[in-house]
């Protein structure tokens, strides 16, 4: 019984570490994990869900603003980028956030082509992250749902903290 849990937890840890390693997530994600507990067991997946919904909405709006070359509303695009940068930063979606930095630069110089490229990138990165996190939540879900181990259900899986110098330590 315990080895199954241990194995699943191990898989969870390894997977999440790889996401940090590949730059999908940064430290803010581990900050969010600190906020999850028995009283709020789905906090991380809830926030992340909100983020992806918000993402899709912003990408849609910006796409419309960029649609016609002769009539681009760069102010609108800039506002969208600002919001996207903010929310991606708040959930630790590092790659998405980094694209937003380049995106803003393109907006500042009113480079429509550049903006379109960034928009595409942001769309790609957010979808990629969504897939990765869905896998992650699947693993953790399995680990915590094992009926023979109530302890696993009650406690948080031990969390790894990724620090900016590239090392990991167990919280």
């Amino acid at each position: 019984m315990n080895t199954v849990i241990a194995q699943l937890q191990r898989r969870f840890q390894d997977y999440i570490v790889s996401l940090y390693q590949q730059g999908f997530l940064d430290n803010q994600f581990s900050e969010l994990r600190k906020l999850q507990d028995a009283s709020s067991p789905d906090f991380v997946s809830e926030v992340v869900s909100l983020f992806f919904d918000d993402c899709a909405k912003l990408i849609n709006n910006m796409s419309r603003s960029l649609e016609r070359p002769e009539n681009v509303d760069f102010k609108q695009v800039d506002s969208g980028v600002h919001q996207l940068k903010g929310s991606s930063s708040s959930v630790g979606a590092m790659r998405v956030k980094n694209v937003c930095i380049s995106f803003k630069e393109c907006c500042d110089v009113q480079n429509r082509e550049g903006c379109l490229r960034c928009l595409q990138q942001v769309d790609y990165e957010s979808k990629m992250l969504k897939t990765k996190l869905q896998d992650l939540f699947n693993v953790s879900f399995k680990a915590l749902q094992n009926p023979t181990c109530s302890a696993a259900r009650a406690t948080n899986t031990p969390s790894w903290r990724y620090n900016s110098s590239g090392g990991y330590k167990l919280d």
């Binding site: 709020s40 600002h82 708040s90």
Partner: protein, 208 residues
Amino acid sequence: MAVGEVMRMEVPAGGDLTVTSPELHVLAVDDSIVDRKVIERLLRISSCKVTTVESGARALQYLGLDGDKGVSNLKDLKVNLIVTDYSMPGLTGYDLLKKIKESSAFREIPVVIMSSENILPRIEQCLKEGAEDFLLKPVKLADVKRIKQLILSNEAEECKNLSHSNKRKLEEEDIDSSSSSSHDDSSVKDIPSSKRIKSESENRSSLL
């Protein structure tokens, strides 16, 4: 500490003030739904009661500052702290800060500004306008814990001042203790400016 209890002061006749259940009620203002969710959780996990609104206008509405003269229900929604994003459409966090500090009913409420941009003139402008602190986004648990400590220690100091003035009042006449917590009590002054200046320079050095 009972959940949901706002700050309450018990005043036994002729005695000292005791502060029970220091659970802060925080009004959090942010136009981002993601950030609202995060700040709400950060505050709840720090044992604060939280109300979130999506704009400065909504915040003023909640406080009853939007033109309606209805400040009668002050006690029911006593807000101990306002945490607001800086960049919001319409009323910015700075505009909201100014409106709160201009209001006689609410200027005592500490206001903390959050921003994703580390712009020193902006920070200074907010502190000068009376913001208690300035948080850089993304906000972390440590930030919230620090703010809560700051607010609680300020309130404790205010209670001490109230306690002294209450003692004087009780000696002079029999007075209903609940009136001592009203915001128009002239013996409760603003946080001494030296303290504000001190905390400003502390904040500045922690940001640099």
